[in-house]
């Protein structure tokens, strides 16, 4: 029953919306995340989820600001899709667990994080006790994709919107959703002699996986770009990302369900980006490399300017 529901949903879901997020690839995976968290106390749940913090932060903060050119006035819009990828480091696959209630480890052993190996790891304890820790979802990358709308301009300012909700059919856990709203404002309009276009931007995004994970990102960015050779527009940007990740789950022991609201320390990081737009009439494709909490590549395309 569980598998048949999953098989109906994934084939269209994975390529279209949330390409690489294994956690979001169907009710069963997310339900299993809920089970795995439910067997972990708060401290170990934090260690289990920690790799997602930097990866989600970097993914969401990518592809948002791609030009320093903001028309001063007039109606302009573009609509497109952004696909953001972040690779995980090998050291993100394991963490050193703390002793959960009732357990005293007799060995020093690392266990999988949420992106680690799918096999559980059992830690030996005093007196012959054993405490297994759950496997991960074996993720090398986190890849998110979302539609995006840009609309302007008024006094050299335009708005950016990202929004998507995907019903994954798991009534207990709810849906996957991404919402983002931001604005970018032309700086070069104030300095006409500047040899390139420059803009400053701010954006807020929230990303939720059912009732289990919720996150929010605030980013500030200054972007500079300069058109060359008619079609190409390279750009660079520097900025600041501030990301919060929260997990909510039920810690289940002996019929006593304890609701845990786990808030990981906010991740704040500098963000540098270098990329290029390729303009082909009203169609634009772009690619960029991001250096932030985690590094990654973002590609996208859109219609309009």
């Amino acid at each position: 029953m569980r598998r048949s529901m999953r098989n109906r949903r994934c084939p269209w879901l994975a390529p279209l919306v949330v390409l690489g997020c294994a956690l979001a690839c169907g009710g069963a995976a997310r339900a299993q995340l809920d089970v795995n968290l439910g067997g972990l106390d708060e401290v170990n749940a934090e260690g289990y989820l920690l790799p997602l913090r930097g990866a989600l932060s970097s993914s969401l903060a990518s592809g948002t600001f791609r030009t320093g050119y903001i028309p001063s006035d007039g109606f302009h819009f573009s609509i497109g899709v952004e696909a953001m990828s972040v690779g995980f480091d090998d050291e993100d696959r394991l963490f050193k667990p703390s002793n959960p209630p009732g357990f005293v480890a007799s060995e020093d052993r690392q266990v999988p994080t949420v992106i680690g190996d799918t096999k559980s790891v059992t830690v030996a304890g005093e007196g012959g006790t054993e405490r297994p820790f759950p496997g991960g979802f074996d993720m090398e990358y986190l890849v998110l994709a979302a539609p995006e709308l840009r609309i302007g301009s008024y006094l050299g300012t335009r708005a950016i919107l990202r929004y998507i909700v995907v019903e994954l059919g798991d009534a207990d856990l709810g849906d996957l959703s991404l919402f983002g709203i931001g604005a970018e404002h032309s700086l070069s309009q104030y300095v006409p002699t500047l040899p390139f276009h420059a803009a400053a931007g701010v954006m807020y995004q929230s990303f939720k996986i059912g009732d289990v994970l919720s996150s929010s990102l605030i980013q500030l960015r200054v972007t500079g770009s300069r058109p060359v050779a008619q079609y190409l527009e390279p750009y660079v940007g520097v900025g600041y990302d501030s990301f919060a990740l929260k997990g909510e789950y039920t810690y289940k022991v002996e019929g006593q369900d304890t609701d845990i609201e786990l808030e990981l320390d906010r991740e704040s990081s500098l963000h540098a980006v270098v990329g290029v737009n390729l303009h082909l009439g009203g169609f634009t494709i772009h690619s960029e490399y991001n250096l932030a909490a985690e590094s990654g590549v973002t590609v996208g395309f859109g219609f309009g300017r």
Binding site: N7, P11, A31, G39, G127, L232, P234
Partner: protein, 212 residues
């Protein structure tokens, strides 16, 4: 904006490199993977010291298999009993539920034994245990004795086999015996405490996950 020829080449080269980099964008594909998950639960035994002086001794018998409800644990976690990889005793904790009113009251040299219903003699599960009995809301982890752990592990294996066979687990009634010295001496002790035994179950599920 004017661009020098060298600048154009440099920027163009940069753009080409980045576009080539886009070719490295990971392309996901759906893969079937077996993922191991862990569900936890616990079984408790409550003890009452009622006006005892110097030596606290008590005995509590519980239906371990019923209290554990392994079938319910597996059902909640979505694990098919045939997909259970292991079940294990993960340790125990001590918690005062109703505190003693005597300040600084402690139990020292505490011992907990375990015996399955039947002819088996009690086996030490915890020895040399000391703890205050005036503080509530705090779980103190206790160190287990290997022989007692083996008794609980044997019981868990029987419960698992019964659940896999769709039968009621046999002989899962367990008696815990406790003894310990109450300090300060020669004053009546009244408190309630709980021994919580933690159990972990490892199961597996085959999921369609995204690979690269």
């Amino acid at each position: 904006m004017r661009t020098t020829a060298a600048g154009t080449w440099i920027v163009g080269l940069l753009g080409a490199v980045i576009l080539l980099g886009a070719g490295c964008f990971p392309i996901p594909q759906i893969e079937e993977k077996v993922v191991e998950l862990v569900a936890t639960s616990a079984v408790s035994a409550e003890f009452q010291a009622q006006g005892v002086i110097n030596l606290h001794e008590d005995e509590v018998t519980i239906a371990f298999g019923d209290s554990l409800d392994l079938g319910g644990i597996l059902s909640d976690a979505g694990i098919d009993p045939d997909e259970v990889i292991s079940i294990s005793f993960a340790g125990a904790s001590y918690e005062v539920l109703v505190p003693d009113t005597v300040p600084n009251r402690r139990i020292e040299n505490g011992t907990v034994t375990v015996a399955r219903d039947g002819p088996a003699a009690p086996t030490d599960l915890i020895t040399g245990f000391s703890a205050p009995v005036v503080v509530t809301g705090y779980e103190q982890t206790v160190v287990m004795e290997p022989l007692g752990v083996a008794v609980i592990d044997g019981l868990l294996q029987d419960v698992l086999q019964a659940v896999k066979a769709g039968q009621a687990p046999p002989n899962t009634v367990v008696t815990f015996g406790v003894s310990g010295e109450a300090h300060p001496i020669d004053q009546p002790s009244t408190f309630t405490w709980r021994l919580k035994l933690y159990v972990s179950v490892v199961g597996q599920q085959e999921l369609d996950l995204v690979g690269f």
